[in-house]
Symmetry: C2
Subunit: 104 residues, 2 copies
Amino acid sequence: MDEVFKALADGSRRSLLDRLHARNGQTLGELCDGLAMTRQAVTKHLAILEAANLVATIKHGREKLHYLNPVPIHQIGERWIKKFEHDKLKALSELKRRLESRDA
Amino acid sequence: MDEVFKALADGSRRSLLDRLHARNGQTLGELCDGLAMTRQAVTKHLAILEAANLVATIKHGREKLHYLNPVPIHQIGERWIKKFEHDKLKALSELKRRLESRDA
DNA sequence: TTGACATGCAACCATTTGGTTGCGTATTGT
DNA sequence: ACAATACGCAACCAAATGGTTGCATGTCAA
């Protein structure tokens, strides 16, 4: 879980996931297009995403195809974010009350 | 948004949020209890969470009270995670198909 | 009033991170 | 056959990160 959070922490990596979401199965070269970064840097980012199980790859000849795996993202939503949604209003009103009364 | 992702990337910070979720409005000293870390380190983590708008603080005498703000967490769920949930099955089956057939 | 308590602030440190350059290797199209 | 293509690997680098120690400051209680 920590690996997934760390992988998602970087904007370049999130945009790589976005691009795979837009078109799945892209090669390394395709994923490099338009990026202000060397191919080797992109490789490192993809390796981190792969280690976090967010992308899966298969070699096809001399090309490497990258596939998005949205399951860990979904898990973060279910196992982590969900528990904070419950008390959204509760927490807000509690803070407001505290802010308004100095005599707590 | 990037600030929130970065803030959530650290396990210590996530556990601070968990502790505030369990009991809101804790002081710095209370949040330090049981942590294998100096008070100053905890202060830095809380500052990062505050900069990401994940906690709000109010000074009360010589103590500083910390309140959880779950809104940015909720926003990540809505604006980022949600769009990846849609094609969960689609992506999986697509990958499976690729893995099974070498002749793509 | 004064000592203990809760916190703030700054300098410093090691490690991690995100990126580079350079070179090697396998595959492919002509 | 061979040059171009697509990628892998390793060394290196600057900056960010996560932590520390030391000291200063404001507040409360006896």
